[in-house]
């Protein structure tokens, strides 16, 4: 099957003699074309969940499968390659590289995979156009607005044609109008390109764009009855 699966994932941190359970027996299954939101208060384990799903952190127990491929015991080098080829990250505050133009932000992903071809360049321009960033390709991040930067980050996440899109509070630095625009465009891209997408957010206004909503409290994940 395609998409991402977390099976009975538990993550415990040791802090001095105390043990903190950040995630407890979390199981979730997100298929290609699904857009899922994870909501919860701060400190609930949202980031840990995202870090584990994003191959940035290893779980204490449980399994992570991407396209039915178990990545739980990969070493850092292999995880890095999983992130490069199978995961698209959209980070909290866009996190663009300050000295690269909008187009180069996208092409750097290809460069990290090896080389940039003409087709990559065309694909990047197409992505930017889809996200309403046509004619912005030669701008530097500091010349773009917050919403534009976040959309560049979305384009960058799709650039490597990943199986999974992970978004960490993509609207936290945007006003309501921009926030809606950005999440709407993200949802469109996920549907259009058939990706399994997880968005971690505390912004309940954005949940209408998602197929399913999970709530995470004290490391425990429960599915919510979605109103839509």
């Amino acid at each position: 099957m395609t998409g991402i699966q977390l099976k009975n994932v538990t993550k415990r941190y040791k802090e001095n003699q105390f043990e903190i359970t950040a995630l407890e027996d979390v199981s979730v299954n997100i298929e290609a074309g699904e857009f899922v939101a994870i909501v919860g208060p701060s400190g609930s384990g949202k980031s840990t969940f995202l870090s584990i799903a994003g191959a940035l952190l290893k779980p204490t127990e449980g399994q992570i499968l991407i396209n039915s491929n178990d990545i739980t015991h990969f070493d850092e080098k292999k995880l890095s390659s999983v992130r490069l080829n199978q995961i698209g990250f959209i980070l909290q505050t866009a996190n663009l590289i300050p000295y690269l133009t909008v187009l180069d932000q996208l092409l750097i992903v290809k460069k990290m995979q090896g080389s940039v071809s003409k087709a990559d360049r065309i694909f990047a321009l197409e992505l930017l156009k889809d996200l309403g960033l046509a004619n912005k390709e030669n701008k530097f991040p500091n010349e773009c607005s917050g919403g534009e930067r976040q959309r560049v980050a979305i384009a960058r996440a799709f650039m490597n044609d990943p199986d999974i899109i992970l978004a960490d509070e993509p609207t936290s630095s945007l006003d309501t109008k921009r926030g809606h625009e950005v999440v709407q465009q993200m949802a469109e891209q996920v549907k259009m390109r058939g990706k399994a997408a997880i968005m971690v957010t505390h912004d309940e206004r954005m949940l209408d764009y998602c197929d399913r909503v999970y709530r995470i409290v004290d490391g425990k994940l429960t599915e919510e009855n979605h109103l839509a």
């Binding site: 950040a22 400190g43 384990g45 980031s47 840990t48 995202l50 870090s51 994003g54 940035l56 952190l57 080098k77 890095s80 390659s81 999983v82 992130r83 490069l84 080829n85 995961i87 698209g88 990250f89 980070l91 909290q92 505050t93 996190n95 590289i97 300050p98 000295y99 690269l100 180069d104 750097i108 992903v109 460069k111 990290m112 995979q113 530097f140 960058r156 996440a157 490597n160 960490d168």
Partner: protein, 374 residues
């Protein structure tokens, strides 16, 4: 690679600052090295520029030509030793000169080293101006070009202090200095005429010379230089190191050079480290979106490489400009070989100093990209 260049172009101000440090350091290194080469030529030119393997001295002279007196007729015996392919007699004498016909004491007197050689021997210097001397014309001399700055020209007649002997400059050579003084080459016969006007001053040695320079490979002088034989043999290196002041002078400049290099390594290392620390978050982001350590490290090192390369080239340019404004009497000699060696060392040091940062980069956790600790 392009990532590195793009950042260089984008954050110009920051990198110009670091680049400037490398420019200034390389500038200073090249000037010091030029000064060092210039000074050592001034001190040893006559010997270091000549192509010989070693010199036969009087026993107990400690490889110093000015202390040594042996008979020129030893040449034959020396030639017969194992490995010797050629010999050339050599004499030196510290004296002073002034222009002929200016006997009044107001005229300028210049200290020189008079060098006696056999015409056409391998110790004869190459000319940069004028004509080769005529073997039968004993009064012809070849002067080092530095005497031109003292007002001497080809065709000038000069006399030596303490004698009324007169010679004429027929040609100029260059970089032929000894003991920080210009040299004046005369034929061996004329040398004896000036240095030893009577038999007693030569200690009764027949055909007296200071030493006999030797050329050859795998020379074995053991048979000739046994204690008590009255002769000792010094290699070219030993002979040059025995020149008064040379080793101390050279060691001082070399020490300054290497200290400069070591200090620059630390300064650059700290700079790159601070720069890397500032970019921790950025590197975290690159890692989170799949950038491998190798990719980031390559990018950082190539950045340092470009920065150092451009700065060193600028340093070389500045040094060449400096040469133009240096006074001619300043002993300054920039050798392409030295410049390339020091450039490579500086380049190596710059890259080495960025290795601290590289170690730091590989430890950056891509989780920092998430921008919060939980």
């Amino acid at each position: 690679m392009t990532l590195a260049l793009k950042e260089l172009l984008y954050s110009k101000g920051r990198f110009i600052m670091i680049g400037l440090i490398i420019v200034l350091i390389s500038w200073l290194v090249f000037i010091l090295s030029g000064l060092g080469t210039g000074l050592s030529t001034l001190s040893t030119g006559v010997l270091s520029q000549a192509d010989f393997t070693g010199i036969v001295f009087e026993e107990g002279s400690e490889y110093s030509l000015s202390k040594s007196k042996i008979s020129g007729s030893l040449s034959e015996e020396v030639s017969a030793q194992e490995g010797v392919s050629d010999t050339a007699a050599l004499s030196t004498f510290n004296t002073s000169i002034r222009k002929a016909g200016t006997a009044n004491s107001n005229e300028k007197i210049t200290d020189i080293v008079l060098i006696g050689i056999a015409p056409d021997s391998f110790m004869e210097p190459d000319l940069v101006e004028g004509n080769r001397w005529n073997g039968s014309e004993e009064n012809q001399v070849i002067a080092d070009i530095s005497l031109e700055n003292e007002g001497y020209a080809i065709g000038d007649s000069i006399t030596f202090s303490g004698t009324d002997k007169e010679v004429t400059i027929v040609g100029f050579t260059k970089d032929q200095t000894l003991y920080h003084q210009s040299s004046l080459y005369v034929s061996m016969d004329k040398f004896r005429d000036i240095r030893f006007p009577n038999a007693e001053s030569a200690n009764g040695i027949e055909n007296v010379v200071s030493g006999i320079a030797v050329r050859g490979e795998d020379i074995d002088m053991q048979a000739l230089t046994e204690p008590g034989s009255g002769i000792e043999y010094g290699t070219k290196e030993e002979t040059i190191n025995a020149i008064p002041g040379y080793v101390a002078e050279n060691a001082t400049i070399t020490m300054m050079l290497w200290f400069l290099m070591i200090i620059s390594a630390f300064i650059l290392g700290v700079f790159f480290y601070v720069l890397t620390n500032q970019k921790t978050h950025q590197f975290g982001v690159l890692k989170a979106i799949g950038g491998s350590n190798g990719f980031i490290v390559r990018s950082v090192i190539s950045q340092v490489f470009f920065l150092a390369l451009i700065s060193i080239l600028l340093g070389i340019g500045l040094t060449s400009l400096t040469v133009l404004i240096l006074p001619e009497t300043m002993p300054f000699q920039l050798e392409a070989e030295m410049v390339s060696i020091y450039s490579l060392v500086l380049l190596g040091i710059s890259i080495l100093s960025s290795l601290f940062s590289v170690a730091r980069i590989s430890k950056i956790d891509p989780l920092t990209a998430l921008g919060r600790a939980e």
